[in-house]
Amino acid sequence: MTVLRLASVHAKYTLLETLRVPIAVIGGLVFPALSLLFFVVPQRQVAENPLFATQAVISLSVFAVLANSLFSFGLTIAENREKPWDPYLRTLPAPGISRVLAQVFSTGLLGLASVLPIVILGALLTEATASPDRLLGGLVALALAALPFMFLGIAIGYSMPSKAAIAVVQVLMFGLAFGGGLFLPPQAFPEWLEVFSRVLPSRQAREIVVWAVGGGTVPAWSVIGWAAWTMLSLALALLLFRRDEGRRYR
């Protein structure tokens, strides 16, 4: 109980801090929407096919959440560790899991908001379609599927300085996005890559959200893989939080 109560206190004040500088929020909302306008809308054979368009919107939504998670979590945490307020918060009696959950509830929530422009533009400018309950199911699935990205972002933030975090986040983000079939559909992959991509959390997230929106069956490997990534990345984030001593002096 205390863990969740403290997590919500930290989440509330992190959101308040962020929302008082609204430009930071707007940036996160605009970038994924622009990707849709540039990469999907002009490709008429995708945009005019309801199935392809829906999957493209889902892929970009997963990409938006992936990018927001890695960037916001990784960079924000790495930067905060270099400021003196974070060490002060660590002297307060809040366990690590509260801090990690607070980041999910605040930064994660803002990341999830970044898919809204994609969904709206996708509905208006392409043939992508989903019923309201499917759409809602898709958002819930997306929130859950994004957990490994958020925990990985947290782990990056706690394991390296912000300048190194930028580089690692970029490599990881594009690797996961391409490898997970978020830019090119996995159906277009050579067979070895299609099989390999099943172990990536981005591919698993894509399949889970595609299933939540489009129905059919969800492949077992995606759910098992997602659960494994979630637990591993959470354990890693908690371990690194506990090991962290702020900035290192040598």
Binding site: Y13, L16, P84, E245
Partner: protein, 310 residues
Amino acid sequence: MTAMTGMGRTGMTALATLDGVTRRYGDITAVDDVSLAIEPGTILGLLGPNGAGKSTVLSLLQGLRRPTVGAVRLFGGDPRDAASRRALGSTPQETALPPTLRVGEVMDFVGRHFPEPLSPAELADEFGLTDLLRRQTGALSGGQRRRLSVALAFVGRPRLVLLDEPTTGLDVDARRTLWQVLRRQHEAGATVVVTSHYLEEIEALAERVVVMGAGRVLADDTLGNVVGRVGLRLVGLRTSDPAAIEALPGILRSDREDDDVLTLSVQDSDAFLVALVRSGLPFADLTVRGATLEEAFLSLTASSRLEPRP
């Protein structure tokens, strides 16, 4: 050698203890075999130059850092466990406050970590921040931010409060006002550890003084005894042969001014003056006076034969 008088007082009642603690950063030793027990009810002044290891001792007690060697206990537990820190109050650096949050919000944020916090209104009243509750911390003056930082240490009704340089950058009036609040909080039951390089501050607040230099505890005693034990006298004189005078026996430390004006720290000024006169060396403008705590502590640092890091 490391003063171990604190060890004799190590009992079951100590709020926090360091036991043979060494902390290294790479090949720099910030804290070197320090043992310390913080008993309830005192104001303990932790005194030393920059780099003496004061802040590292505090960060070990706060659970921010782990000792390389030795054990740190806080309320009987490991300070790195959140539950051990429930009765601990700390101050953020005043530049650390999140600039977009309001004063009342920061107080509420920190207070919510504790089982029975003071309300922002109560806390603001005690620290004279009532008119500023709605102000964003970014709009506060340096002195106001400092007062808020110190106030945050008390929001959770802590049993042990760690204050790192609490009045740095405050003018004289503001400093005295803050000292009054600290004494009032102490009388209300809080044990306080305060680091400072303002000797006036330690003399005004502390009952027990721990002097640190180059990571070691050089002295750990009552305020009066720390000054008394050093019992230092300062001999001032002008001479055309400073090197020869500095070579006389009994000098702990020598400070030169303009090449021919010397201030010499000596344990026994009478014996030194006899030696000076007998040496036949030239001197003029002789003065002898007692040392202030600052000078006493500088000589303690110097006699540890370890140069304090800048």
